[in-house]
């Protein structure tokens, strides 16, 4: 039985219009230049999706990408899902679970799906082969129902799935793609595009193992990596708590620092007792039933299954309560009922909705209601106020949003589009950038976050430069930093509200996370020095693939991936003007803490530093020809000019 090697990667192209499939072998040069996963997805999109392509049309390509480390104990089962977003930008997201390794085991590293089926279908992928099967009986089912039925029908417990829920089918804004019940990715629009292709699900089962070019070298590199992330040995204080209690420790912490989005981010501090009632300890005590993990995760319990044990929703089961949920369904809408949060976010997973879209759009609607811009005539009779007295109304609203029913139809558009329709000044309550809702990271108190939110090509996505809080710069010596060519004044860079060095810091974070997401591995594991020093990742990559790539080349791949993102958007017409912050953050100071608004002058200063360091035009943010030549992407500069884009020298 063959084992997969990782130097050379394959793309299975599938056309849903005519059922045609063919397997393309990518040049080894691509593995060296873009590594894989997010990187090669980005390169494929530039090659195969022409500018101005209709997002819901047959020419948009939906990519599922694995990478050279998928299927090894460092890949964490990550995949990248990517396509052109209905908002016009790049749509790319990372997703965990067990799908990635299984796809690689089937001899396929990337699935590239184009066309639109004329009836609901699902793909059944086995070694080197894709079958397009009827999915009419699955259309309309929730994600958990789809999972259960497919598992039962296909009976092999090692088959892995990705699917969308009713929200994706109905092209609801920001619908992600789901799998392993509670893992998701691609909230920039990948679920919508999958729905537009009438593709309900993908099932995969492979039979090949993952070969390692230098096994002993890989084990040595794994030990170094594991030592930095294991709860017993990690020097990062976040590791033990993050890997067990998980992200819900954050709301309480954030609130004390003035970093917690409260009542649509009108305030950044929530009542202390309320933060306690939704925090990690209570969740663990009352609702957690089991630890869960992605493929080969070295942490005990990043994910968890929960069950509500009493009350109206007794018996409700769900999974994955992180920092997003207690913010979007907690402080953001001023709800301190943890059970309600668990039901709302669990239902979002089942219906295939993005919690940030739903939470921020609800908060927008509540602030509109408070200001008389929306009335109960618009909201199906609901008193839509912060504090959420009408709990069952909210629960029902999740279903209505997924199915575009009643008031749900307006909310299904997302707060950006909804505020354009409603008008009456509701735009100032819309917390979105490039049409995509914010997440949970505070901008006015952490300027690197502000810059990252403004520039992210897919819309606000903190995982592209995560984590936003400073890691301990003392863990890495000055000599190491110089040797790694990280020319940063780390202390200044980590001062939250000092605008200097933020462009440089964001650049370094973006490049290093791009590398990690292209291997792939999980950005949660950027602990200890793994976010500053990429050499342990490099050793894992070279020993697994057998590719003799210099460290500088390896890091440069991350910079190429960062440029691929920007190039996609530039081709679609996005420029510097689109790198903005929500109106609230630019015009309102944070009450109580006094963090001042981020005016255009301050943002421009940070954008200037970021673009300058990146070698991008200060006027337009388009990568210059000098930079693209340096990255050996000169031919892409030619293609850009051929599309009518002005490329500066």
């Amino acid at each position: 039985m063959k084992a997969r090697e990782s130097r050379v990667q394959t793309v299975m192209h599938v056309n849903l219009c005519d059922g045609g499939t063919f397997l393309e072998t990518l040049p080894e040069q691509w593995t060296r230049q873009y590594i894989g996963c997010r990187g090669i997805n980005g390169r494929l999109l530039l090659r195969d999706v022409k500018p101005r392509t209709e997002a819901f049309g047959p020419d948009n390509v939906l990519l599922f990408g694995t990478g050279p480390l998928d299927g090894t104990p460092v890949g964490m089962g990550r995949i990248s899902v990517a396509c052109k977003s209905p908002r016009g930008t790049l749509a790319e997201g990372s997703c965990g679970g067990f799908f990635g390794p299984e796809l690689r085991r089937a001899g396929i590293d990337y699935l590239a799906i184009r066309g639109v089926a004329d009836h609901p279908v699902y793909l059944f992928v086995t070694d080197g082969r894709v079958e397009i099967r009827d999915a009419s009986r699955l259309w309309g089912l929730k994600t958990n129902e789809t999972d259960a039925i497919l598992r039962e029908e296909l009976s092999d417990p090692n088959i892995q799935f990705r699917y969308i829920g009713p929200a994706g089918e109905n092209l609801v804004h920001a619908s992600p793609i789901f799998g392993n019940l509670n893992n998701s990715g691609g909230r920039a629009g990948c679920g919508q595009v999958m729905g537009s292709k009438k593709l309900k699900a993908i099932a995969v089962r492979g039979s090949q193992g993952i070969g390692i070019a230098d096994y002993d070298g890989f084990i040595k590199a794994y030990k170094t990596f594991r030592q930095k992330v294991d709860i017993a040995t990690s020097r990062d204080p976040w590791t033990p708590v993050w890997s067990t209690y998980g992200a819900p420790i954050l709301p309480r912490l954030f609130s004390g620092l003035g970093n917690l989005m409260t009542r649509n981010a009108r305030e950044m501090r929530w009542d202390d007792e309320k933060t306690v009632s939704v925090n990690a300890e209570i969740f663990m005590e009352k609702h957690v039933t089991k630890a869960k993990a992605c493929f080969c995760c070295p942490w005990p319990s990043c994910q968890k299954l929960y069950e509500i044990r009493s009350g109206k929703h007794q018996g409700f089961k769900g999974g994955n309560y992180w920092a997003g949920q207690p913010i979007t369904f907690g402080s953001l809408i001023d709800n301190d009922d943890l059970e309600l949060i668990l039901v709302l976010s669990g239902l979002c997973n089942q219906y295939g909705l993005d919690i940030f879209h739903v939470g921020y759009t609800l908060a927008w609607a509540m602030e509109c209601f408070e200001n008389g811009i929306l009335t109960s005539k618009d909201t199906d009779g609901m008193e839509l106020k912060f504090g959420c007295r009408d709990k069952e109304g909210l629960v029902d609203l999740i279903r209505k949003i997924a199915l575009r029913e009643g008031f749900g139809a307006l909310l299904a558009l997302g707060c950006s589009e909804a505020s354009k329709i409603v008008g009456k000044g509701s735009e100032r309550f819309c917390l979105a950038v490039k049409g995509q809702e914010l997440e949970g990271v505070a901008q006015r108190s952490m300027y690197m976050v502000a810059l990252g939110v403004a520039v992210s090509e897919v819309g606000p996505d903190h995982t592209r430069w995560y984590p936003p809080y400073p890691c301990n710069p003392d863990l890495i010596s000055r000599e190491d930093l110089d040797q790694l060519d990280i020319r940063l004044d780390l202390r200044k860079a980590f001062q939250g509200r000092n605008p200097d060095e933020k462009g440089k810091l964001l650049r370094w974070f973006t490049i290093s996370r791009a590398v990690v997401e292209s291997l792939p591995s999980c950005v949660f594991l950027i602990r200890d020095t793994l976010g500053l020093d990429l050499r342990p990742w490099w050793n894992l990559f070279t020993s697994a693939t057998g590719l003799n790539v210099a460290y500088e080349e390896f890091v440069m791949a991350g910079e190429r991936v960062m440029n691929l993102d920007r190039l996609f958007n530039v081709r679609e017409g996005f420029r510097r003007e689109d790198d903005r912050l929500p109106i609230r953050m630019m015009t309102e100071d944070v009450p109580y803490f006094g963090y001042s608004r981020i005016g255009p002058g301050l943002l421009d200063r940070m954008l200037d530093e970021y673009y300058q360091e990146n070698g991008w035009s200060l006027k337009t943010s388009i990568p210059t020809r000098t930079k693209l030549n340096q990255l050996k992407m000169g031919e892409i500069a030619d293609e850009l000019e051929a599309c009518g884009v002005e490329v500066e020298t």
Partner: protein
């Protein structure tokens, strides 16, 4: 003689044990291979993950800790223990006592947790 025992409800389904085991002789990561001596059975609905050990405890290649099977040392939660039979019961009791004190130990074994934790002084020992 020490054997590998499973504390089922601590398993999070990651398959680190199975994946590493599959590679110890062949150098290939293949959780489905015939060489594998531990198999994590996944129950539909993601609700149970059950490691089934088919190994006499003499590991083909203990990678991380000398004289400790690779699967046991690589397990993140402590769901796998390598003990004499008489000591396994004590481990199980340690886990149950820890869970009475702190809900954290629903998801990780106390012997994997590197910090002191508050023990309730309940009952006699």
């Amino acid at each position: 003689m020490k054997q590998i025992y499973v504390i089922e409800d601590l398993c999070n389904g990651c398959r680190l044990c199975q994946t590493f085991c599959s590679s110890l002789v062949s150098g290939v990561f293949d959780y489905d291979s015939e060489d594998v001596r531990i198999n994590v059975i996944k129950v539909p609905g993601e609700e149970r993950d059950i490691p089934v050990v088919n190994c006499n405890g003499r590991c083909a290649r203990p990678i991380f800790v000398e004289d400790c099977p690779t699967c046991v040392s690589v397990c993140p939660t402590g769901a796998l223990v390598y003990e004499e039979q008489k000591d396994v019961v004590l481990k199980r009791l340690e886990l149950e006592e820890a869970r009475r004190c702190q809900s954290l130990f629903k998801v990780v074994a106390p012997w994997k947790w590197p910090f002191p934790w508050k023990r309730k002084s309940v009952g006699a020992k």
